[in-house]
Symmetry: D2
Subunit: 281 residues, 4 copies
């Protein structure tokens, strides 16, 4: 499926500052960036860096006082791996690839260490694998209200499991924390999300599971606001701390971001398949 | 029912100190202290104070360096009000006695303000009154593990609802917080508890409900370790901060407390009746 | 000194609701309410209650759907006790009146139990009494930024000591927590505050100290936004949970409160005297 | 300098389990492992993995029910870079290598986002670079008590900055959080520590600073229990979550670890030099 994505971000820079963006589409086995452009006003040449272990793409701009605007647009083709959820199981700790172990550790917003007793009680008797992660997502969807403005940049999964409200970022953090507490590696995904209303940067998560052709990272969206077949990935990380779309160093005021994504008209939401953007490892 | 209660507490006092005890049985309409003695070694005359609004009894001892031991024993008769739970309902906010409103407020260990969304979702559709508080107790019993040593003096209901383990104090705090979050006044009760194994100071809670003869504070023990008809009350408060059995001011080391209670042999645990130690107000 | 105070509060009531107000001036030995009026539109007769131990005045209105407005105005004379700070000392735990002990306990927003090590290190070597509490206020003023919007109804002293920003409520909570951690009873005070800009309900705190004529509760305002000689008291409590100016039970939307206070023109801020509204006890 | 290090760890395995160890000395430009052995009883062949971005060495053992013991010993030569602290400055955000940016993010135990206001106030006026990090370490040493048993595996920098007690792990977390809050990349280091009494695994931290020959990670130990020239590194990470010396998956009971390190007799503690185990980048 082909998508056209983009965003336009405006800033007022009150003193010389550095801005680090992570909003370009990643290049993955099943996500091809056919063309793209990143421009700024005033035009500034960024320093670029792609993290080897994640593929996250960073661009750092050193900006002088005044207005600063960044425009990004790209054409991306997704060919997600779509599998039968019933065929996607779970690894024992002894069989997990060593590279996935760090995604079992607690992180800033996903304090899985504090949620182990709750997770075990609530999800310990669910069928393992894709079904267990789906049970986690269903629980979040059924027990947490999606309400803008009830949480902020300091809200973590430990807060959300009790306070029961939040936005996509909070839903993803709670999903990640509960997966890790159950021994399932999980990581945060920032994305352009097809059919998200209103359009915005979106956050979902991936769990590492045992597919029919081997282990892979499968996408989950506990907000149910999008289909996981229409997520153009930006970055991955342990939690939101790793994949801010813009990190600001200096006295800078942000305007509201404009984000968009266009895709094929006719497709229905895929909600019943296991979806991954990676070839099995 | 007649009970003989008591405790023996030993301290090593490393510098002149003040110790404030709150461990004597309260005098209530349905709890009569027939006889009692409070002695110390070395013998010291305490300053005594009974708080007018709670009936909590305090005794303050100014103690010199050395060993200090306190022995308390009392004979107490309980005549609890026992009612049909089905006849005990709930007040609307507009009908609650104004004196009970402070027991709706959040306190140190019972952050009801943080639990309102969870409480409403989980218990909002339960039948109101005694049944709703019972549903809260059942949920605690079913979802929190009673394990000594997993919590400490800083653990609050906000922790317990997530971490899912604790002791009687934590169970009571969570019950109180959830009641308050549902608009039901609730308070903490410290007690000598008949048939508690091993014997120790116990913590339960009371909820203010609408009984057939008027409003009253009804006892609940979400640990299910005792029957609420065999609780000899010491003190009441917003949470454990109000009713420590000993507050120490100075460099003092405590030995393990010895606590006991003897009651009639034959009685079964009352677990299906609504029990109150107060005449309806 | 004579003051004219008042407020006007407007609500949109979406379903029948109960509103409990605590915004009328208290009657104290050194605070005389010469005249006052409390009216509402539509006119409703409230249920009234004055708490015996605090003197806090509550008025409960049962309100139907629609608009609801409350207007309060009063003429109040303050005759505060003004003493030399150097003559105001501190009690040992053994000498504190038993009635003040509950104001040593940790409460929802003043977790003194978590701050004892910090308080002892930071303020343990200060001169005791009024000077130590002044040192606490100075530390708060010097280390916490007064910034509206950085905190909310869930923010507590434990947050503020680390995050270092807040409003009058947060400043008071931190002052209370640090006093209690040092063994000084402290409580929250809501007030109409002369010369507060912009006019609003204000929050300060009182510490129980040993004045030249006996123990008394002395006023402190760590925000330095007012003089403590121009505070018309509304209520006292362990923290803000006890003295909300309006507790709402039901689906009600609040408008912005209008609050005012007029006093004598010429007076300078009293910032160097120990001030109490109570006769020594 | 030459060191002989080692440890012996014993476990009771109650059901088949996986144990992942990260306790072998790392290989670094200035840390050479001359010889080493890792043996177990019963003998089991581990799966091995060295993380490319950190050099952390993991060994995973699948263990059956029964006793399990692991013995590690190694001969290691350290040739630390020792520089004049006055020559070690600080990077502006625009000049930091992109690879170091993730070490500015908040992590599970180092919530730098919550500490920025405190850090700026306390350390904003210190001379930049090595001196600023030293000021942070001095503040920690002067304001936090080293007391075993006052913290646990859930304690974070946000707790420690308020509660003011902890062990090496807590000291390191606080140092990291404060550095990140000041814009200085910082990471956690687990190590065998020469002259640590009693011998145990130790935790310190590194800050990324601008040395005379380029950027490098410099070692800091805010506990002052060791000299940073005698730290044989095991692993690095964002915080303790990344470098547990043993991660247990299954029902396993640990015995107390035995840890040792022998080094040259005569050397004095290096406390006044800037020390790094890496060549400047």
């Amino acid at each position: 499926m082909d998508f056209a994505i983009g965003c336009s971000l405006a800033y007022t820079v009150n003193s010389p500052a550095a801005l680090v963006f992570n909003l370009e589409a990643a290049t993955l086995p099943r996500q091809v960036v056919r063309s793209e452009s990143l421009t700024t006003h005033p035009p500034i040449e960024p320093e670029r860096y792609t993290a080897p272990e994640t593929g996250n793409r960073f661009a750092r701009f050193v900006v002088n006082r005044g207005s600063f605007r960044l425009d990004y647009r790209a054409d991306v083709t997704l060919d997600p791996l779509i599998q039968d959820p019933a065929a996607v199981g779970e690894f024992q700790a002894q069989d997990l690839p060593m590279t996935t172990l760090p995604h079992l550790y607690a992180s800033r917003y996903c304090q899985s260490d504090k949620l182990s007793r709750f997770a075990t009680r609530q999800f310990g008797n669910e069928p393992s694998g894709y079904q267990r992660v789906t049970a986690i997502c269903n629980w979040i969807y059924g027990n947490v209200d999606y309400i803008s403005g009830t949480t902020d940049a300091m809200t973590s999964a430990f807060d959300t499991v009790t306070q029961r409200s939040g936005v996509c970022r909070d839903f993803a953090h709670l999903g990640i924390a509960l997966c890790r507490a159950m021994g399932i590696p999980a990581r945060y995904v920032s994305a352009y999300a097809w059919r998200l209303v209103p359009p915005d940067f979106h956050a979902v998560f991936e769990a590492y599971l045992a597919g029919p052709a081997g282990g892979a990272w499968y996408l989950f969206d506990p907000t149910r606001m999008t289909g996981v077949d229409g997520l153009v990935r930006i970055g991955i990380g342990r939690d939101a701390a790793d994949v801010a779309f813009c990190s600001i160093f200096g006295d800078v005021v942000s305007g509201p971001p404009q984000v968009w994504i266009d895709g094929p008209d006719s497709s229905a939401l895929v909600t019943t398949a296991a979806v991954s953007l990676q070839a099995p490892e």
